[in-house]
Assembly symmetry: C3
């Protein structure tokens, strides 16, 4: 369920549209359809994966950083064609999606995520958990992420981070 | 929140009814009320637990396979009366429930699940995660699963699979 | 999505308000804003953290037990000023929120939770999972927890339980 913070009004049909967007995001990554992932973002956009401790100190470092849909797609192409990594399945589950404020620049939301990873011949295991700080905009009737900052809770850098989060 | 795939229209009251069904399913398994589990299915039905790699190759093998409510109940009776296994608690959490299409044969949905398991005197741990491919039908005002295919992400067979997933 | 048990009617706007409350609860704990946590409860209230096996046997023992908003706040002050513990981040994800009945004393709900914990320089890991048995009341237009009983599945006492659950 999409929630709203105290004092923020989000009509039910709008909540349903947001649910559709958030679910599409998880489905796209879970099914490995990475080529469809950039279309979930506005252009330009901001996509970052950052460590929580760095983020809270305002440090600029990011494990992944993209500012446009082309940069997102570049990332996917690099993954498909040049990166060398063991095959794996990731499963992203999102909870606590909450509209924090509604501004002229879009809807500001936060959410929690847990990502489970399965390596060949190993049991599934928790890979990362954390929160997202998002800005969602309506582009000609389509909701898209203008900003998605994925903030993982652990202080160690996930060296095996291959896929987007 | 129940989501809908792009281009699929699912009215809010229908989404709420689907949420009720999905929540009932998890509650039934989480509370150990297995005798009530078959009633969540249509009759005949298809219930399967399969490994993702097998499923993607179209292989027929399944860890559990039932084609009717009687077969589901048979499974429960076997569990209660003949199976020998260490006691355990399972907790199923479902996310990303999405209506992919609406056909004359019912609603087609996908969802992600994580199942945590707790053995006596041990901490809780992730047991399985994966996705469901479901077909839901309306039988005289009751939504039920005509098909539920549970596809787990790991390639190893969960030898300790005792309860339905 | 907030679900309703068979035979229980919960209008969509009421479901949305419940989603807002449940999401607020998780957000408050996830962001570490413990001082705001007592305001999510009615006064007096009942807040307990109990082991599932004890709870099912009706034993009174609880890992945490509070009967008023002051007791909840006392807990927070103790945590902030006297407790000595390693820093940690907790991430609570709630699923399967279901209205079981509607009475003159409020709404009775159950839900499942998984809590992940991250210690410094360690990967995130599952800490606890279990269920909540809640009673929610409307106080002058604000939904609050009159009762929240958090029942964890494991039989071992989580010695490292520092924060509320």
């Amino acid at each position: 369920m999409i929630a709203a913070a105290p004092g923020v009004t989000v009509p039910l049909p709008q909540r349903a549209r947001l649910a559709d967007l958030y679910c599409s995001y998880d489905d796209t990554l879970n099914s490995g359809a990475l080529e469809q992932w950039p279309a979930l973002f506005a252009d330009p956009c901001l996509y970052k994966i950052v460590e929580r401790a760095s983020h809270e100190q305002g440090l600029p470092i990011a494990v992944m950083y993209c500012e446009s849909r082309d940069m997102l797609m570049d990332r996917v192409v690099a993954l498909r064609e040049t990166a060398l990594f063991a095959p794996r399945i990731t499963r992203r589950i999102t909870g606590g999606i909450c509209v924090r404020s509604v501004g002229s620049d879009g809807l500001h939301l936060t959410a929690s995520f847990a990502i489970f990873q399965t390596m060949p011949d190993q049991p599934s295991a928790l890979f990362l958990c954390g929160s997202c700080q998002d800005r969602v905009v309506d582009e000609a009737g389509e909701l898209r992420f203008a900003e998605r900052i994925c903030i993982y809770d652990s202080t160690i850098v996930p060296t095996s981070l291959v896929y987007p989060v």
